[in-house]
Subunit: 514 residues, 2 copies
């Protein structure tokens, strides 16, 4: 039996927890409403906004972003977080997750003074313009002073936020909580070595990939095809849209409104098709958050790596499989188009999975793609740690390209200047692409153990059981579990490249007959 | 020479004015940024939002609206307004206008307690559903208890805000500052009598309007035609868009982004065409606000009547003129369509300007349109003043229809239930439609004195000088001048129906040969 004072203490504690949780719940609901409004403004800017709308749009987005920031860093929120941390054990799963995600954002925000945030924003704005200019002229010197400045600002940010092993961990954590250099170093060096081995094996194949595919398809037919495929994959068209944008992207405004964009090229319908399937994978994740999580702050992707695992699953593991291509050919015949007509299905599979080292990351095949990422990872972590200087980047880039991919860019616009990320100050972002590939293969290997006849299902266009597994094991949880918890629960294993190497080996041995 | 103390007093006064103006300028910039963000959300809801997006959208709009409200009614704003009112004479034209518009909104907002605002919102939400249901079933009894409640709430609002002569003036002022029952009563009764006379004259005409026009046009061709006409009229397509919506509307997010929508009917291209021209008139107004007014709070339409004058000018005075129809026929021939092919131009002009009393306001011709408005005006002002009871409305409606238009609805869905306005609680809105017609004819008569050969210009599609006059005399001022100041400055006269009756008489005598 409890003494009276202890009992009262218990009630008071519960009331305090409730009060603090209410503060945080109110905050995340507000942040979500503001954030999703900003998402619509951002979507419209890329899709439908007339050019002269940009001035007011910039002010709207800046206003909403600063409003969210002010709400997040309030004293009341800080106190609630501190008090809740002291009685973590009394919180349930979702409450702990809410505390985890909010305190992550809160502490990262309060440790960086307003002046530094402004300086970062201003610098990246100038830097991005410099990068565009530098890329157009293929002249790294135009970009390097800005890149140097942003590296210094990022280093200062990392110092202020604090870290255990490496300042670069602070930046990784922006996109992928749980992941550190210590985890990535062995993971990526193994992946790099295994990939280089695989690449050599594939390059020894006698298969000559055809370049004569009928890829032309009228834009209207491509749109129809896109809608058909989306609806087969399980994308809810009454909870989303497919529009056109220069650079395809997915953006969610709650699970009831997750929009995707693509870009059409009449000469090659597979470009829009695979970008649509990729974005659809992202969208299926966000449409799949449990409805009870709406506006709870947990109706969010838990990390970019997990997000990317979903897009890569649908684009690569499913979309580029021989089984899916069989299904696709049937759809094209049903639509009565001439696309891929008369092409041998085996040749189509080979062409869509052609492996060839190339200079540009976004055009890379599944095998060489990760080499592009690992190269960037190795460079950017040393840049942040001060082991590499900005002016050495072009040479370093080129020598790594030569070493890993066996080719070298003739100009920096096809080398170190090709990606927009560093001009945004987005260091730590690139690794999430490869993490997405790795997670995707781990998830899919686990799925194969629970869903029977996956390949036959794909051929038939029966994607429901696949989506259902993803919903049950990944999507519905939103940000409740951390990426590593999610991976462990869904697959029984920690993050590792075994399944990925096995997937790549099986797939390409079969296609390239090696 | 000024004494030292007075001089210091002068400096202190100037500083105080500056400080208070800064408060208001900061506020309106914020309100504008929030308001235009809300506008995009509202636009998207009508045009592109997937159905399942509605839940979050509602929360976003409610949040932004309450954010604006809280900002507006702050103590700091109230003090700034009070202090500035005391030294009005020291303010320049724009500063006075800013004070006028802000204090208008401020005092109307603080006088209505939060509970009443919520009750109004809740009631109109329920009421609107009841109205839809009542209209579908053509059963006024379903609607009347809700209408009674909203009338009571509106009466209470009017009492709280206060008025000199009539509570209805408070509601008129929501849409049309400067306008009161005292002004409208004689204006509208004259207009009603003159219109009835004109109608009788037209009905005596021997002209038999043809019903055999080739109005069919493929939607894609209608879209092309719309874009062509918009660009002729001077609508800046890089500062706006034309999209589809169930009910056509215009929405502005700063003068650099003013979007219009229309609705296409394949069987009759003139429906979308004239709705596009109408909305274009609204949009030209908003695109024409002086760029220096951006985010100043004066980059707003000064009233709905003035706004409507612009849409009616382009739709009716210009768009339905024999000269414009000549120009339109040429465009259709250039586009190589069969629309209006083989139809005699004179018959087309008659058909597009056919006068015939009808039950539904939105299908009414230029002559009978105002009778529909005046009927509503007479009813709603007495409703608010308590002179008429809700349950008497159907009978009152029908008897006025009989008296003014000579026809009577067989069911309430074609009578008192036809419009959405009262179900929104929008009493005082209807008169702005007729005010728009009146202002439009006054402006156009003044324009004819300064722009030569207007009719020839319209035939040639040379709308630039017309738009330029509107820009110079109306658009660029935004909300700087009140409607009556604007009218006086642009036309030399006060609001009056002389030009309007002259315009109608000339136009219809010519078309109907009476």
């Amino acid at each position: 039996m409890l003494s009276k004072s202890c009992f009262l203490g218990g009630i008071m504690k519960t009331q305090k927890i409730k009060k603090n949780l209410d503060v945080l719940k109110q905050l995340v609901a507000e942040l979500k409403v503001i954030g999703t409004a900003a998402s619509l403004l951002a979507w419209d800017q890329e899709v439908y906004m007339p050019v002269k709308g940009i001035k007011v749009r910039g002010k709207q987005l800046a206003y909403l972003s600063s409003l969210s920031h002010v709400k997040l860093i309030s004293k009341q929120v800080g106190n609630a977080i501190k008090e809740l941390k002291e009685c973590k054990d009394d919180l349930d799963l979702k409450e702990r997750a809410l505390l985890r995600t909010l305190s992550h954002d809160y502490f990262k925000s309060i440790k960086v003074p307003k002046e530094l945030v402004s300086e970062l924003t201003e610098t990246t704005t100038l830097e991005q313009r410099a990068w565009e200019n530098a890329k157009n002229k293929s002249d790294f010197k135009i970009f390097s002073p800005y890149l140097s400045k942003i590296v210094k600002l990022k280093q200062r940010t990392c110092e202020l936020i604090g870290f255990k092993d490496s300042p670069y961990d602070v930046l990784l954590d922006d996109y992928e909580p749980d992941i550190t250099e210590k985890i990535l170093d062995p993971l990526f060096s193994n992946l790099r070595d295994e990939t280089v081995k695989l690449l050599k094996k594939i390059e020894s194949s006698k298969i000559k990939v055809t370049e004569h595919l009928n890829l032309k398809l009228a834009i209207d037919d491509q749109k129809r095809l896109g809608q058909t495929i989306l609806s087969y994959l399980g994308y809810e068209l009454d909870a989303g849209r497919l529009d056109e944008a220069v650079h395809p992207f997915t953006i969610g405004m709650g699970s009831g409104d997750v929009r995707i964009t693509t870009h059409y090229y009449e000469a090659d319908f597979t470009k829009a098709l695979y970008s649509t399937i990729h974005e659809c994978g992202h969208a299926l994740y966000e449409q799949g958050f449990d409805k009870v999580l709406e506006l709870s702050g947990l109706d969010e992707a838990v990390s970019l790596g997990i997000h990317e695992s979903q897009s890569r699953t649908w684009e690569n593991i499913i979309g580029r499989s021989p089984e899916f291509i069989k299904f696709l050919l049937l759809q094209l015949r049903k639509m009565n188009t001439s696309a891929l007509k008369g092409n041998n299905p085996e040749n189509v599979v080979q062409a869509i999975n052609k492996v060839k080292p190339s200079l540009i990351r976004i055009y890379a095949d599944e095998i060489t793609y990760n080499l592009h990422i690992i190269l960037r990872y190795e460079i950017e972590k040393d840049l942040i740690k001060g082991k590499v200087k900005v002016h050495d980047l072009p040479e370093l880039w080129n020598s790594k390209m030569k070493k890993y991919l066996g080719i070298m860019p003739k100009k920096d616009s096809e080398g170190v200047l090709q990606d927009v990320h560093w001009s945004h100050g987005s260091f730590g972002y690139f690794p999430t692409y490869s993490l997405g590939n790795i997670y995707a293969s781990q998830f899919f290997a686990a799925l194969r153990k629970h869903v029977s006849n996956v390949d036959q299902k794909i051929t038939k266009g029966d994607f429901k059981p696949i989506l259902q597994w993803m919903r049950d094991k990944i999507h519905k949880y939103g940000a409740i579990y951390t990426p590593s918890e999610l991976c462990k629960r869904a697959t029984g294993s920690e993050l590792n490249i075994k399944d990925y190497i096995e997937y790549l080996t099986n797939k390409y041995s079969r296609i390239y007959k090696v």
